[in-house]
């Protein structure tokens, strides 16, 4: 086997910067530590520099500044083919002039592996993705989902400790995509490899990952588990980007411990959890998840009048658009449970939320 250095599969980005043109930093200050066996997803809008990070890791782009460590060793000067990293590309990059079997045996051939061993490994990898019968087909004779599996098998066949996937499911339809998410997740669990996964689809990121790094504007906005990401977004971007979110804006009046008093733009004063609101006098954005808002009930400190503007029946719940503190796009999800409140468009009701569910973030 050729000497490759992916080692135990752990990855460290240490103050990495990248610029293509010497003017704009596409990646600004990337610090990221990925442990062996972890499934880490880079999530972010298109153009936020996710692929760039992956390409630097794979060795197809060089970091402008900073170090990338693989298995504890810096790899800045190691060419891609010596890094021993498995890779799944968005368009699969299956070699059109080779059969499925030849595609899979390619990485083994360049490692000068014997024929028998090669065949055994190819078969095992194909079985893993349930594509054993397709060994003699050409990529063009496969459906998108089948090509995806082959690409996956090809990245795994040479026993890489680290596998990179750049939007690997982007070209599939929704159903197939969800199915493949589980399969990839299972394979990851079974093999114990490290996976760095890139996507712009938040539900994909939340479903699959151990940890998610939310990218925007060349920096990681938040790095945490899917749960924390959703429950405890650390800034307005993350709150906005992950899941649905209502916002109210105002100015910080007082802070006591983790409790902040906020004066909203319509003059009302309310309580919130101080997360990233800065000091007194700063503008802040309050973030409240729709499902954490209760409709009707008694007035508390964090309740207010709300005018129902629109109702959408969605089966398991009813989506309700309201005017709350002047925000006309305030969404509330009313569960379609037995004996739930029946609202009418145009009526005024009371909405309330817990202080800890109202997070004061950056403006």
């Amino acid at each position: 086997m050729a000497a490759t250095i992916s080692g135990d599969g752990s990855v460290v980005f240490d103050r990495v910067q990248k610029s293509y043109d010497g003017e704009v930093l596409v990646v600004k200050d990337l610090n990221l530590k990925i442990d062996k066996g972890e499934f880490v997803t880079m999530l972010g809008p298109s153009g936020s520099g996710k692929s760039t990070c992956l390409m630097m890791l794979a060795g197809f782009e060089t970091a402008t500044h900073g170090d990338i460590l693989l298995g504890g060793r810096p790899i800045n000067n190691i060419p891609p083919h010596k890094r021993g990293i498995g890779m799944v590309f968005q368009n699969y990059a299956l070699f059109p002039h080779m059969t499925v079997g030849e595609n899979l045996s390619f990485p083994l051939e360049v490692r000068k592996m014997g024929k028998d061993e090669r065949e055994a490994k190819v078969k095992r990898a194909l079985d893993m993705v349930q594509m054993g019968d397709f060994i003699d087909r050409r990529p063009a004779q496969l459906s998108g989902g089948q090509q995806q599996r082959i690409a996956l098998a090809r990245a795994l066949v040479f026993d890489a400790e680290l596998v990179l996937m750049d939007e690997p499911l982007g070209a599939l339809d929704k159903q197939l995509r969800e199915h493949m998410q589980y399969e990839i997740k299972h394979i990851h669990e079974n093999l114990g490899i490290t996976v760095v996964y890139v996507t712009h689809d938040q539900s994909e990121a939340l479903t699959m990952s151990d940890r998610v790094a939310v990218f925007d504007d060349g920096i990681i906005q938040q790095l945490s588990t899917p749960e924390a990401l959703y429950e405890r977004p650390e800034n307005a971007f993350v709150a906005q980007f992950i899941g649905e979110n209502n916002t109210l804006s105002g100015v910080v009046q007082a802070i006591k411990g983790d409790a902040a008093t906020i004066k909203l733009d319509d003059g009302t004063v309310t309580e919130a959890l101080a997360v990233k609101c800065g000091d007194v006098g700063n503008r802040t954005t309050l973030s409240i998840r729709p499902e954490r808002v209760t409709v009707g009930g008694n007035k508390t400190k964090n309740s207010t009048d709300a005018k129902v503007l629109e109702l959408i029946y969605l089966g398991d719940h009813i989506r309700c658009r309201m005017n709350v503190h002047g925000n006309e796009d305030f969404i509330v999800k009313v569960p379609n449970s037995a004996g739930h409140t029946h609202l009418q468009a145009g009526e005024t009701t009371t909405v309330s939320w817990g202080k800890e569910d109202c997070r004061a973030l950056d403006a």
Partner: protein, 420 residues
């Protein structure tokens, strides 16, 4: 989706009960006819502008009725002659009558030229005899032999017999250095007159070398073009195309200035001590000159199809290969190169076919061992006016090209070729 209903024999039926196959055939037929109708004007244009002239020209290579039309009487007599017995009085009489006719219609020159190609020296025999033909009297045999003793020579009559055949393999035979005899047999031409076979071989050789050199030079250039950012590659592409903006003649002449013995290149050789002033390299007016100039001139035809194919090969393939552990060379050779083969096929065929019929450049810089078959076709078109032989040579060349194309199709496959 339900399956189509089937009849008792298990044949699929359409909604109205007719067999599905038949309905499909009808539906397809109608759309095919419509498509054909739209394409008809174009097909006709292609037919009349390309195929008909080629066919007419090729027919010239096997058909020349100059003699039969202008010497009708003796042609009839010659058809019955067995080529060994003494020519009869009837043949002489018919000849005399035809000579008078040809003189009056001013066609004697054409007839004489025609026969002279079969046997040198008969031209003046015909023109001289025609001038006196009117005064000849029976017995015509003696009278004609009185005009020139050559009329008694059986070789002259054999030449007449060959000329009198309108549909004749003589020109095709001549195009491959064979001689067609009056008795219908073929023999090789005498050694000092054999030339065409050698030329066909040389033409193929030059074309192959030019194609291979074009590939060796063009591939890296096309590769570079396809990997550079669009702005730079467009600029370079213009440089590649620049030669198209100047005439072929200018480019060839530029090579003369470069390569001639007092030219730029030789001057440099002398300056750097690679050659002495008296003993400069012969880089032009020979095969070397033809090869250099043709490779340069045909290079864009190699680069463009290569470039357009390479442009469509996404860089992710090579990246994928490298991520799997392939070195730069392996990634290129096993992954990139096979995908560029359609471009090689297209560029190769294009350059080869252009090269095989190249004409101006070898004429200007080819000297003797660098001239090609087209130069001889041109010679027979413009100088010797032997259009039939030119047509026959063109026919042989076309056959060779079609044959090679067929081989290519068998080996590589025509659909494995992409022009853009």
């Amino acid at each position: 989706m339900t399956d189509a209903t089937t009849d008792t024999n298990g044949m699929a039926l359409a909604a109205d009960g007719t067999p599905l196959k038949k309905r499909l055939g009808q539906a397809l037929f109608r759309s095919k006819m419509r498509a054909l109708g739209l394409a008809t004007p174009l097909l006709l244009l292609i037919f009349f502008c390309f195929l008909v002239p080629i066919i007419i020209f090729l027919i010239r290579g096997v058909h020349n009725d100059t003699f039969e039309v202008h010497m009708p009487a003796v042609s009839v007599e010659l058809a019955q002659w067995d080529t060994t017995s003494e020519p009869t009085e009837a043949m002489y009489a018919a000849l005399a009558a035809d000579l008078v006719l040809a003189k009056e219609t001013k066609t004697i020159g054409k007839v004489a030229s025609r026969v002279n190609r079969e046997l040198s020296g008969t031209r003046s025999l015909f023109t001289k005899s025609a001038r006196k033909a009117k005064k000849l009297e029976a017995p015509y045999k003696d009278a004609l032999i009185g005009v020139s003793k050559k009329w008694a020579d059986i070789e002259v009559w054999k030449a007449l017999k060959v000329s009198a055949k309108s549909w004749t393999p003589a020109y095709l035979a001549s195009a491959v250095d064979l001689k067609y005899n009056a008795d219908g047999s073929f023999e090789r031409k005498s050694e000092e007159r054999r030339i065409h076979l050698q030329l066909f071989v040389r033409t193929l050789e030059i074309s192959v070398i030019v194609t291979v050199m074009g590939l060796l030079l063009g591939y890296p250039v096309a590769f570079l073009l396809s990997t550079l950012p669009a702005r730079t590659s467009n600029l370079l592409l213009i440089l590649v195309l620049l030669p198209f903006w100047t005439s072929l003649l200018v480019r060839t002449t530029a090579w003369i200035a470069m390569l001639q013995s007092q030219g730029v290149l030789n001057d440099l050789f002398v300056i750097f001590g690679l050659a002495t002033d008296e003993d400069r390299f012969s880089l032009i007016y020979n095969k070397t000159g033809t090869l250099i100039a043709m490779t340069h001139i045909l290079l864009p035809f190699m680069i463009l199809p290569l470039y357009s194919v390479m442009k469509t090969i996404p860089p992710t393939y090579v990246r994928a290969a490298k991520s799997m552990g392939a070195t730069d060379w392996t990634a290129f050779w096993r992954v990139y190169f096979p995908q560029s083969i359609p471009g090689i096929g297209a560029g190769g065929i294009l350059v080869f076919i252009l090269a095989i019929s190249f004409y101006i450049t070898p004429a200007l810089v080819g000297g003797e061992d660098g001239t090609m078959i087209s130069n001889f076709i041109d010679f027979h078109m413009r100088k010797s006016l032997n259009w039939s032989l030119a047509a026959a040579m063109g026919g042989v060349l076309l056959t060779i090209v079609l044959f090679l194309y067929y081989i290519y199709d068998k080996v590589v496959g025509i659909d494995n070729m992409k022009l853009g």
